[in-house]
C-alpha cells in the first residue's frame, strides 16, 4: 500500500537512494558495532537506541499493533505494519480483491458486438466466390461418383446377413503372410463328442475305465481329460487345468522353441584338410614278414643292432635272445634272471663294437653276444674293460658318497656266455638310453625318487645321478640326437635339460595324464609322446610347450612310440589294443612349414593277452622294416 501520489515536482522519488548502502549482506555482521551501515555520504548510520531489557520484555508481552518481529534494515529499528497494510494481508489471505472499492460485478460495457453499425467498416464488395458453386466440393463429389461408377461404393447395398451357425475353427489359425521365419503351428484335430460338456452316455467312462485312467501316470494317459456330463452349460465349472496348461505351454516354448535351423549346405569332406593319399607315401610296412617265436611269456622289449642284421629281444622269461632278422632264426640266448623279466635291451650305437645293454631287475648287463667276428669282439672287449682300472684308482682315492650304481665283473658262468660287466643300480631299471657316442648310457628306475635317473660312463665305469631332487615319477629319458641335451619324461611333463650348462631349459606339457614313452626325431626339434590315456602327441620344440598335434586312434593305452631314425619320414605307436599304427611324419627343413602327419596303416597281428598287446616297437636303422614285441610271446617283423 503506497500513499497517494501528489503529482508535483518533488513527488518523484525514484532516484532517492536507499539510506543504508551496505547492500544485501546479513545485518549480523554489524551486531558488534554501534552503527548499522553507512549512508550515501559515508556517514555511519547509528543503531537506534534500544530500550532496556525490561522494555524488550514488556514489548514481547504486550505486542504493539502492527508488530512483526522483523527489523527494518534501513533504520535498524523494528519493522511495523500499518493498519491498512494488515487489512490488505488479510484480504489476500481470504482470496478477496485486495484493493478497496473494486467492484467485480460491474456491468459490462459492450463496445461492438450487440450493436449493428449502419456504416460498414469496409467498403470492399462481396467476393465472387460467395456467389458461385464450390470447386472443391465438386471435386469431392466427383470422387464419390467415380467410386460408385467403378463399383467401389455400392449405394443401397443390402446388409450382409451373418450366418446363424458357422465354423468357429475355420479361421482358427489365421494365415499369416508367407514368410521364411513363419512356422505355422501344427493343426489340432477338432474336438470330438467326448469333449462336449454334455456327451452322449456311451462316451462317458465306466467306473473301471475311470479308475484305470486315474492310476496311469499323467504322461502315459492317451487322453488328458475324462468325459463328464453336465445337464446345462451354466453348470460347467471353471476349467481346472487352465493354469497348468498355460504353464506347460510356456515350458514347451521355453524348452523346445520352434526354431528354423539353417542347414549348412557344405560337403563335409571339403572341410577336412587335404592329406596326400597313403599310396603316394610308400614305402611303409604293411604285412608281417617274420615272426620270432621262442620266448615263454611276454616279449617285453626289443632292439635292432646298428648294422640292422641282428634283433635282440628280452622277455618275461628272463632271457635275452638274438635273432637273424629275415629268417627269424634264434642264434643266441642267455638267461639273465631266474624270476626277473628283462625290461629293456638296447644296443650300443656304433658298428665297431657289438655291445648290448640289457636290464633285468636291478642290474644292467653289458653283453657281447658271440655272433660277431673277432675284430668286433676285441673292440667290444676293449671298450668294456678299459674302465676297470680307472674304477680301481677312483675307489682308492675317493671317500665320497656312495655312487648310484656299482660296477662288477660277472660270475664265470655269465662271463662264459658273453656278459662282460654288470652295473647294479639297486633299484629296478625299466629303461636304458644310450648317448650317441656310446660312452654314456642313462638308466631309469621309476621307483628311485631322486635317484631315478642314473648316467653311467663306460670308459670309466662310473655312475652318477644327475638330479638332487625328485621331480616326479620318471618314465623315460632320452639323449638329444646331436646336442648335449637330456629329455626327462615324468608322468605329466617332459623336461629338457642342457647338460653343458647344467640347467633346465624347457618343460613340455603334453597334457596327458601318464606318459608311457617318447622319442626324439633325428632332427632333434620334434618329439612324439605316447601316453597311457591312448593319446599320441607330436611336440614341435620350436612352436610351444603344448603339443602341435594330438592323435587319438588307439583304443587302449599306448606302450611305445618310435621315429624312424634312418631317414624315412615314418613313426609308429604300439598299443595294448594289439595294433601298431604307422604314420607318415615329415619334418620340413623350412622353419615356416609345420610337420605333415598322415596316418598310414594299422598293423594287426599281435594277440592281446591279459589286456596287454604290443609292448615295444623298433624301426630298422635304414629300411622301412618295423619290429614289434607282443605280449603273446612273439616278436614280429613288418615290411
Amino acid at each position: 500500500m503506497y500513499p497517494e501520489i501528489d503529482p508535483v515536482y518533488d513527488s518523484d522519488d525514484t532516484d532517492v537512494e536507499e539510506a543504508n548502502t551496505i547492500g544485501n549482506i546479513p545485518l549480523e555482521f554489524y551486531d558488534e558495532y554501534p552503527h548499522i551501515g553507512y549512508d550515501i555520504n559515508g556517514k555511519k548510520l547509528m543503531r537506534p537506541a534500544k530500550g532496556a531489557a525490561l522494555d524488550a520484555l514488556l514489548d514481547s508481552i504486550e505486542v504493539p499493533k502492527g508488530w512483526t518481529g522483523m527489523t527494518d534494515r534501513n533504520t535498524g529499528g523494528d519493522l511495523m505494519l500499518t493498519q491498512e497494510e494488515l487489512e490488505m494481508v488479510r484480504k489476500i489471505q481470504m482470496g478477496e480483491v485486495p484493493v478497496d472499492g473494486y467492484d467485480p460485478y460491474a456491468p459490462m460495457v459492450e463496445y461492438f458486438t450487440s450493436k449493428t453499425e449502419v456504416m460498414p467498416l469496409s467498403a470492399a464488395p462481396e467476393p465472387k466466390r460467395r456467389f458461385i458453386p464450390s470447386k472443391h466440393e465438386a471435386k469431392r463429389v466427383m470422387k464419390i461418383v467415380k467410386a460408385i461408377r467403378e463399383g467401389r461404393i455400392v449405394p443401397n447395398k443390402p446388409k450382409e446377413e451373418e450366418p446363424q451357425f458357422y465354423d468357429i475353427w475355420a479361421d482358427d489359425a489365421p494365415s499369416r503372410p508367407d514368410h521364411i521365419m513363419n512356422i505355422p503351428a501344427p493343426k489340432l484335430p477338432p474336438p470330438t463328442h467326448d469333449e462336449s460338456y454334455n456327451p452322449p452316455a456311451e462316451y462317458l467312462p465306466t467306473k473301471d475305465e475311470k479308475k484305470a485312467w486315474e492310476e496311469l501316470d499323467p504322461e502315459d494317459r492317451d487322453k488328458d481329460y475324462l468325459p463328464r456330463k453336465y445337464s446345462a452349460l451354466r453348470l460347467v465349472p471353471g476349467y481346472d487345468g487352465f493354469v497348468r496348461e498355460r504353464f506347460e505351454r510356456c515350458l514347451d516354448l521355453y524348452l523346445a522353441p520352434r526354431v528354423r535351423r539353417n542347414k549348412l549346405n557344405i560337403d563335409p569332406e571339403s572341410l577336412l584338410p587335404k592329406l596326400p593319399s597313403p599310396q603316394e607315401l610308400k614305402p611303409f610296412p604293411t604285412t608281417t614278414a617274420t615272426i620270432y617265436r621262442g620266448h615263454e611269456g611276454k616279449v617285453r622289449t626289443l632292439g635292432i643292432d646298428p648294422s640292422g642284421v641282428w634283433l635282440a629281444t628280452g622277455g618275461d622269461d628272463g632271457t635275452v635272445r638274438i635273432w637273424e632278422v629275415l629268417t627269424g632264426r634264434e642264434v643266441w640266448k642267455v638267461k639273465l634272471g631266474e624270476d626277473e623279466s628283462v625290461n629293456t635291451v638296447k644296443w650300443r650305437p656304433g658298428r665297431e663294437a657289438g655291445i648290448l645293454a640289457a636290464a633285468a631287475g636291478d642290474d644292467v648287463y653289458l653283453i657281447m653276444p658271440p655272433i660277431f667276428d673277432h675284430e668286433t669282439e676285441a673292440a667290444g672287449k676293449e671298450v668294456l674293460s678299459v674302465g676297470w682300472g680307472y674304477a680301481e684308482v677312483v675307489k682308492k682315492n675317493s671317500l665320497k658318497k656312495e655312487p648310484p650304481a656299482k660296477w662288477s665283473k660277472p660270475s664265470d658262468k655269465l662271463a662264459e656266455v658273453g656278459v662282460a660287466a654288470i652295473v647294479t643300480v639297486r633299484i629296478s631299471v625299466k629303461h636304458i638310453s644310450w648317448h650317441r657316442r656310446g660312452d654314456y648310457f642313462a638308466t631309469v628306475s621309476p621307483e628311485g625318487q631322486n635317484r631315478a635317473v642314473a648316467i653311467h660312463q663306460l670308459s670309466k665305469h662310473q655312475s652318477q645321478s644327475p638330479f638332487r631332487k625328485s621331480k616326479g615319477i620318471v618314465q623315460r629319458v632320452e639323449f638329444h640326437p646331436f646336442r648335449p641335451i637330456l629329455f626327462v619324461a615324468t608322468q605329466r611333463y617332459i623336461r629338457v635339460y642342457d647338460l653343458a650348462k647344467q640347467e633346465l631349459t624347457k618343460t613340455l606339457q603334453p597334457g596327458s595324464r601318464w606318459i608311457s614313452s617318447f622319442d626324439v626325431h633325428s632332427g632333434g626339434d620334434n618329439l612324439i609322446v605316447g601316453s597311457y590315456d591312448k593319446r599320441l602327441l607330436w611336440h614341435d620344440l620350436d612352436l610351444s610347450t603344448k603339443p602341435y598335434r594330438t592323435l587319438r586312434y588307439h583304443q587302449k593305452a599306448i606302450r611305445s612310440v618310435k621315429y624312424h631314425q634312418g631317414g624315412l619320414p615314418l613313426f609308429c605307436s604300439a598299443s595294448d589294443d594289439g595294433t601298431v599304427q604307422v604314420f607318415h611324419g615329415k619334418v620340413f627343413g623350412d622353419l615356416m612349414e609345420n610337420a605333415l602327419i598322415v596316418p598310414l596303416k594299422v598293423l594287426r597281428g599281435h594277440v592281446v593277452k591279459q589286456a596287454l598287446g604290443v609292448l615295444d616297437v623298433e624301426w630298422h636303422p635304414r629300411e622301412c622294416w618295423l619290429f614289434s614285441a607282443g605280449a603273446d610271446g612273439t616278436a614280429r617283423l613288418w615290411n
Binding site: V309, T327, R329, V331, F372, D373, E375, E377, R622, N639
Partner: protein
C-alpha cells in the same frame, strides 16, 4: 578235335558268326606253323586254339599249348579278351604260343635235423647237396640216402654250391667259406668228410655264394656289406690275414684243429648294407653281380676288381639270378615281388618288369636250364612259384607248396634250384623237397 577246329574252315556252327583274324607265332622253330593270318571263331578259348595248332602241326599226340598276348596268358575267350582290353576285332591279332607246362608233382623229401638253408644239385652224378642250420653239409643221392656229411662249420651253414662233380663250397654264419672234396666211392654208409680249406675274410655271416666252375672262382655275399672274391685253386689262394689275438681260447680249439686257412683274392667294397645275393655272369666269368639290402644292383668287373655299374631300385633286394639268353637279372625283393632288370650299361630303364604274387620276401631264384624264359622263386611265404618272364602280367604259372605232415603252410623256403633232377628246395620244415620238373617246354 573235330567241331572246334572244323568251324574256322567250314563255319558250320551257327553261333560263331563272329570271326577274327589271328596270326600264330612261336619262338620254337620245331613247332612253328605258317604265319599267314587265319580266321578263327572269336569265342575260342585256350583249348580250342591249342587244338587248331595241333591240327596245323599234324602231330600224332595232342600237345597242350598256352597263348600269349601282350605279355599275359590268354585265360578267357578271344572275344572277351578283345572287349576287356578295348581292342579292335577287325585287325589281325598276333598270338604267340608256347608249350603249356603241366603242374609240377611232388617227388620226395629228405628229412634233416634242422632248418635247411641251401640246396644245390650236381647233374653228372645226380647228387643233391644241402646245407643246414645245424652246421652240417650233406650230400644225398636221388634215393634219399645221405652219402657224405661235412662237419666243421662252427655255426649254421647258409649257402652251399657244387663247384664241380666232386668239389663243394659252403659258407655260413661262422663267416668262413669251406671247400670239401667228396670223391670216394660210396661204401654203403655215411662217410664224414672234412674240409680241404677254410677261407676267411668276411666279418659277418656269408649269406650267398656263387661259383664259376671254369675258373674256380667264388663270389660271396656277406652281411658285412662286402662281396668276397675267392679262388678255390689252393695254389693261387693268398694266405689268411693275421688275426688279432683271438679272444676266446675255447673257440680257438675248434678252429685250430681245422683245415688250413686262406684269404680272399679281394673283398669288394661298395655296398652300404648287407649283401644278400651274388651271381656270376654265365657268359663272361669276369663279370659278377651283387644285390644288397641297400636297394642296389652292382655289376663288378672281376678282372680289375672294380665296380662297373650300380643301379638303384625301390626295395631291399634279397636274391638274384641271371637269365642268360635274355641278358636279364631277376631280383627278388623284401617287398614280395621279383623285378627284372637289364644290367647292361646301355639299358635306359632300371626295371623292365615286375612279377607279383608272393606274399613274403623272395629269397631265392633259379632259372630253368631248359627254357630261357622260365624260373622258379622261393619265398618266406612258404611257396615256390614258377614264372614265365614272357607273361609278366599273368602272375606265376604254378605254385608249389611244402609237402609234409603237420605243417602250417607258413614254413619259410630258403633256397631252390631248378635242375635236371627237378625243382629242389629246402626250408624251415627241415626238409629238402624235390618236385618233378614240370612237363612242357
Amino acid at each position: 578235335m573235330t567241331s572246334a577246329e572244323d568251324s574256322p574252315m567250314g563255319g558250320t556252327d551257327p553261333q560263331s558268326t563272329h570271326q577274327i583274324q589271328v596270326k600264330f607265332t612261336t619262338r620254337h622253330p620245331e613247332i612253328a606253323v605258317p604265319t599267314a593270318p587265319i580266321l578263327v571263331p572269336a569265342n575260342l578259348k585256350r583249348y580250342g586254339l591249342s587244338q587248331i595248332i595241333n591240327h596245323l602241326l599234324d602231330t600224332s599226340t595232342a600237345t597242350p599249348f598256352e597263348f600269349l598276348i601282350n605279355g599275359s596268358f590268354l585265360r578267357t575267350s578271344i572275344e572277351k579278351y578283345l572287349s576287356d582290353n578295348g581292342l579292335s576285332s577287325e585287325s589281325v591279332l598276333t598270338l604267340e604260343y608256347v608249350r603249356a607246362i603241366l603242374p609240377p608233382k611232388f617227388q620226395a623229401a629228405f628229412q634233416h635235423d634242422d632248418w635247411v638253408s641251401s640246396v644245390s644239385v650236381e647233374g653228372e652224378n645226380r647228387r643233391i647237396l644241402s646245407g643246414s642250420y645245424d652246421g652240417i653239409v650233406r650230400v644225398w643221392n636221388e634215393s634219399a640216402q645221405c652219402l657224405y656229411t661235412g662237419v666243421g662249420h662252427t655255426d649254421a651253414v647258409k649257402t652251399t654250391k657244387w663247384m664241380s662233380a666232386t668239389k663243394i663250397v659252403s659258407a655260413g654264419m661262422d663267416r668262413g667259406l669251406r671247400i670239401w672234396e667228396v670223391d670216394g666211392e660210396y661204401i654203403g654208409e655215411i662217410s664224414e668228410v672234412s674240409a680241404l680249406a677254410e677261407f676267411v675274410g668276411h666279418r659277418s655271416t656269408v649269406e650267398k655264394i656263387s661259383v664259376d666252375s671254369s675258373s674256380g672262382r667264388v663270389l660271396s655275399a656277406g652281411m658285412d656289406s662286402l662281396v668276397g672274391l675267392w679262388t678255390t685253386n689252393i695254389s693261387e689262394a693268398p694266405k689268411a690275414p693275421k688275426e688279432a689275438p683271438v679272444p676266446k681260447a675255447k673257440r680257438r680249439k675248434e678252429s685250430s684243429a681245422g683245415p688250413p686257412r686262406y684269404g680272399s683274392l679281394r673283398m669288394l667294397e661298395g655296398h652300404t648294407s648287407p649283401v644278400s645275393g651274388v651271381a656270376f655272369d654265365p657268359k663272361d666269368s669276369t663279370v659278377g653281380y651283387s644285390v644288397s639290402w641297400d636297394h642296389t644292383i652292382r655289376t663288378w668287373d672281376l678282372a680289375t676288381c672294380s665296380l662297373a655299374d650300380s643301379r638303384t631300385t625301390q626295395h631291399p633286394l634279397l636274391s638274384v639270378c641271371v637269365l642268360p639268353t635274355l641278358s636279364l637279372l631277376a631280383c627278388g625283393s623284401s617287398a614280395r615281388h621279383i623285378t627284372l632288370h637289364d644290367p647292361r650299361v646301355s639299358a635306359s630303364t632300371v626295371t623292365t618288369s615286375t612279377l607279383r604274387g608272393h606274399t613274403n620276401a623272395v629269397v631265392a631264384l633259379s632259372p630253368n636250364k631248359n627254357s630261357e624264359w622260365q624260373m622258379v622263386s622261393a619265398s618266406h611265404d612258404g611257396t615256390l612259384r614258377i614264372w614265365d618272364v614272357r607273361a609278366t602280367e599273368s602272375g606265376s604259372i604254378w605254385t608249389i607248396k611244402r609237402e609234409g605232415e603237420g605243417l602250417s603252410g607258413k614254413e619259410k623256403v630258403f633256397d631252390v634250384e631248378w635242375s635236371s633232377l627237378g625243382i629242389v628246395s629246402g626250408g624251415e620244415d627241415k626238409r629238402v623237397q624235390i618236385d618233378e620238373s614240370p612237363k612242357g617246354e
